[in-house]
Symmetry: C2
Subunit: 438 residues, 2 copies
C-alpha cells in the first residue's frame, strides 16, 4: 500500500481514551502516531495505592510500546506536545512537527488550585507516578520525624494529615491513610503511637462524593468515620501554609496536606482555538469533534459534553474509553464513506473505594455499600488493569494486605536527610538533598 | 529491669550485617538502637534487576521497622551519622548525640572512581535504589531517543552501552542489558532495531569475575558473549566524557555508561581513628573489634580482615551476615562474663549471575556453569530475600520474564522531556526538568 495515500491519525496522550483509540485503529487502514510525554500508561484509578505505599509504580503502569507491541501501523513517539496548528494540521513537539489527517486530542487533566498555585508545594495533588511518590515520601517521613522528636523530647507531637477535597480521590486517600496509621504501623514505633494520628477530610460542599446519590454519600461519610477519618463538610479552604490549612472556621496545623479538590484540563485544550468551559475543557460537538474542525476530535477529561439529561459527563475512565472507541469507529466509518455517529455514554455504574472492605457502588437504581461494594471495586479494577502479570501481582499484594495489614512499598526514596516539619512540605528539600547526596 | 543498667548497643547501618546483629540482639538483655539513613533495607544482590527494569524498588526492599516489628528492645532511628566520638562513646547525628556501651559500625561501602569523581555524572554506579532508578532512566531513554532520531533522519544511530568493570555487578548488568536489547524490546520500535545495540563490558584485568577460579571466569566470558556482550579484558579506562569512554587503546562513543569498577568503604571508617586500608576499610582485630576500642566493632564491607589463608574477606552479603551474628554473640558472651571468640568466615560457596539461564557457581571444589548455576542462584536469592510476599512476587516476575522475555518495570520516571544525548548523561537534567514540571 502506498504510504502517502494512507490517512495519518495522530493521537495525543496514552491515557485510557488515547490508548483504546490506538488499539482500535491498529486494525484499520490508517497510519497511527501515538504521542505521550511518558513511555508508560498509568492506571490512574490505582495511583492512590502508590501514594499510600500499597503498590509499587511498576505494578500499576505498563510501557506504551509493550501494550501496542506488534501493531505495525502504530508508531509511538515519546515527546511533549507544545502546540497544535489546526489550520496547517500539524502537531508541534519541541523538536519536530507531526502532520495529520485526523487528530485525536486525549491530553487529560491535572490538579488545579483555583488560582492559588502557590499552595502546590505545601499540598501536592495526585495525577502522576511522581506525585504519588512525593505523597508517599511525605506521609512516611512524617511518622519518622515524629518518632525522632518524641524520642528526644519524650512527648508525642500531634500528627495531623489533612486531605482537601471529598471527591473519590480525597475519600480513598483519607480512608487509606487512616488504615496506615491505625493498623499498618502498629508495633513498629517505640516513642510515638501512630494510632494517635488525626486524618481530616475537608470538603467544601455539604457532603462527600458529591457526584453520587445522597444515600451513598451519607454511607461513605459513615464508612470514613468508622475507619477513623474526621470528615468536615462545608469546610472551605481559604489558605494553605507550609504546615497549616486555613478554613473559613479555623486554622488546622498539618504535618501532611494533600490536595484532591480540583482538576483543570490540559492547557492544550485552549490552544485548539475552540470555546472551553471554566475548567479548560473543550466544548465539543456531539460526535466529539472540534467545532469548525471535523478532522480533530477531543476525548476524555479534556472534552466537555453533556449527556441526554443535560448533565456534563464525568471525568472517568469509562467515559474516556468509550469516547476513544467511538472516535476510532467514526474515523473508520468516514473512511468507508459512511456518516459519523454521535457519542452516547453508556453508564454501567460507578464505584468509589473508601478503604479496607469499605466502598460505595451505584449500578443504575441499585445502590450498595460496604464489603460487597468493595469486592465489586476490587474485581473491576483487577479486570481493567493492563497486563496479566500486573493483575496477578496486584491481587497478591491486596490479598496479603487484607490479611496482614502490611503495605508492600513503604520506601522513602529521594531524600536521605530528615527534614524539618516545614521542609517536609517542600519538594525543593527533596531535590536539593537528592542532588547533594548523588 | 532498670533501664539504666541495661547495656546500650548502637548499630550503624541496616544492611545485611547490621540487620542480623539487631535481630540476634533482640533476644538479649540489651537496649539496641539501629540507625540508618533510609527507612528500608535494600536487598543489594537484586539491585541490578531494578536498574534493568525487571523488578520494582518495593519488591527488593523492606521497611526496617517492619522487619524488626514487635522487638521491644530494638529502637530504630532514621538519620544520618555525621561522626563517632569513640573517646566519649557517642554517635553523632546532625541533630542528636546517641550514647553507647557497645557500638557496631556496619556502614558499608559505595562506588568509587579512583580519584576521578568528575566521572560520576556520566557513569553512575549501582549502590542505592536511587542509583538503580537513574540507570533505568538512562537505559530506557536511550532507546526512545534513538527511535525519535531515526524517525526524523531515517538512519539508526549506533547505540553503545558501556559497562566499566567486570566484577559480579558489571557482569550481571551487561548480561541483562543484552537481554533487554536482544529480546525484551523486539517488535516495539518502528524506526530502530534494538538488536543492533552494542553492549560492551570493559575489564581492566585479564579476565572477568577476577575473584572466581579461572575456569569459571572463562565460562562467564563465554556466556556473556553468547548473550551478545562484547567483552574487552585488559581494557584500562583512562577517561570518561559526557558520551564517550576513553581507554588506553581507543575512544568509545557511548549512549549509556555504567560504572561497576570500584568500591570504597563509607567515610565513617576513617573517622574511627584506627588504620584503614587503601579502600578505606578498617583493619579490625580478629574478633572484629576496633584496635584500642574493644567496645567498638566494625563489620561487613567496612571491615578489612584476612581469612586463614591470608586472603582478604570479600565484600559479600554472607560475610557481613556471619560477622553480624558473630558480633552479637561476642557481646552476649562478654555480658555473661565469658571470653570473646575470633571470627572465622565459613565459605558456603559463591554465585554470580550473568543473565537468562547463565551463571557461574563455586561450592568448594565444585564449579558449575550455565543453567544449573543459574537455578542455584535463583533459589538462593529467593530464599534470602526478606519478606515472604516479596519472595512470591519476585518469583512470579522472574517466571513471567523467563517465559515471555518481558520486563515488569520499564518506566522512565523523573524527567518528562527528552534530553539530548549529552543531557542524558547528566542527573542535573533529570532534576531540573523534574522540578520545572512538578
Amino acid at each position: 500500500m502506498d504510504r502517502k495515500t494512507v490517512p495519518r491519525v495522530v493521537i495525543i496522550g496514552a491515557g485510557f481514551g488515547g490508548l483504546i483509540a490506538a488499539r482500535k485503529l491498529a486494525t484499520s487502514a490508517v497510519q497511527v502516531t501515538l504521542i505521550d510525554r511518558r513511555n508508560y500508561h498509568t492506571f490512574q484509578p490505582l495511583l492512590y495505592q502508590v501514594a499510600t505505599a500499597g503498590l509499587s509504580p511498576g505494578e500499576i503502569a505498563a510501557p506504551i510500546r509493550w501494550i501496542l507491541r506488534g501493531r505495525s501501523n502504530v508508531r509511538i513517539l515519546m515527546g511533549e506536545v507544545e502546540d497544535v496548528d489546526v489550520s496547517r494540521r500539524v502537531v508541534r513537539l519541541v523538536d519536530a512537527d507531526i502532520p495529520y489527517d485526523y487528530l485525536i486530542v486525549a491530553a487529560g487533566a491535572s490538579h488545579a488550585y483555583f488560582g492559588h498555585d502557590e499552595w502546590e508545594p505545601f499540598a501536592p495533588g495526585l495525577k502522576t507516578i511522581e506525585d504519588a511518590l512525593e505523597i508517599r515520601r511525605r506521609v512516611l517521613l512524617a511518622f519518622e520525624l515524629a518518632e525522632r522528636q518524641a524520642a528526644e523530647s519524650g512527648e508525642q507531637v500531634q500528627l495531623n494529615f489533612v486531605v482537601v477535597g471529598g471527591g473519590p480521590t480525597g475519600v480513598e486517600l483519607a480512608g487509606t491513610l487512616a488504615e496506615i496509621a491505625r493498623r499498618a504501623l502498629v508495633n513498629e514505633f517505640h516513642s510515638i503511637d501512630p494510632e494517635r494520628t488525626r486524618i481530616l477530610l475537608l470538603e467544601g460542599g455539604p457532603r462527600v462524593l458529591p457526584a453520587y446519590p445522597e444515600d451513598l454519600s451519607r454511607s461513605a461519610g459513615e464508612q470514613l468515620r468508622h475507619l477513623g477519618v474526621e470528615v468536615h463538610t462545608s469546610a472551605m479552604v481559604t489558605g494553605i501554609e507550609p504546615a497549616a490549612v486555613i478554613t473559613s472556621q479555623t486554622r488546622l496545623p498539618a504535618a501532611v496536606i494533600l490536595w484532591a479538590a480540583g482538576v483543570a484540563a490540559s492547557p492544550l485544550g485552549k490552544k485548539l482555538g475552540a470555546p472551553v468551559d471554566r475548567a479548560g475543557r473543550v466544548l465539543v460537538n456531539p460526535d466529539l469533534s472540534l467545532p469548525g474542525h471535523p478532522e480533530v476530535f477531543v476525548i476524555g477529561d479534556l472534552a466537555s459534553l453533556k449527556d441526554k439529561n443535560g448533565n456534563p459527563l464525568p471525568g472517568l475512565a469509562p467515559v474516556a474509553m468509550q469516547q476513544g472507541k467511538a472516535t476510532a469507529k467514526n474515523i473508520e466509518r468516514e473512511l468507508r464513506g459512511n456518516p459519523r455517529q454521535n457519542f452516547h455514554y453508556l453508564d454501567k455504574g460507578s464505584l468509589a473505594t473508601i478503604g479496607r472492605a469499605a466502598a460505595v457502588a451505584q449500578f443504575g437504581k441499585v445502590h450498595i455499600s460496604g464489603f460487597l461494594a468493595w469486592l465489586s471495586w476490587l474485581f473491576v479494577h483487577i479486570l481493567f488493569l493492563i497486563g496479566f502479570r500486573n493483575r496477578i501481582i496486584v491481587l497478591i499484594q491486596w490479598a496479603w494486605a487484607y490479611f496482614t495489614y502490611e503495605r508492600g512499598a513503604r520506601l522513602i526514596t529521594g531524600s536521605t536527610q530528615l527534614p524539618s516539619w516545614n521542609q517536609l512540605q517542600s519538594e525543593e528539600h527533596n531535590q536539593t538533598v537528592g542532588r547533594k547526596s548523588a
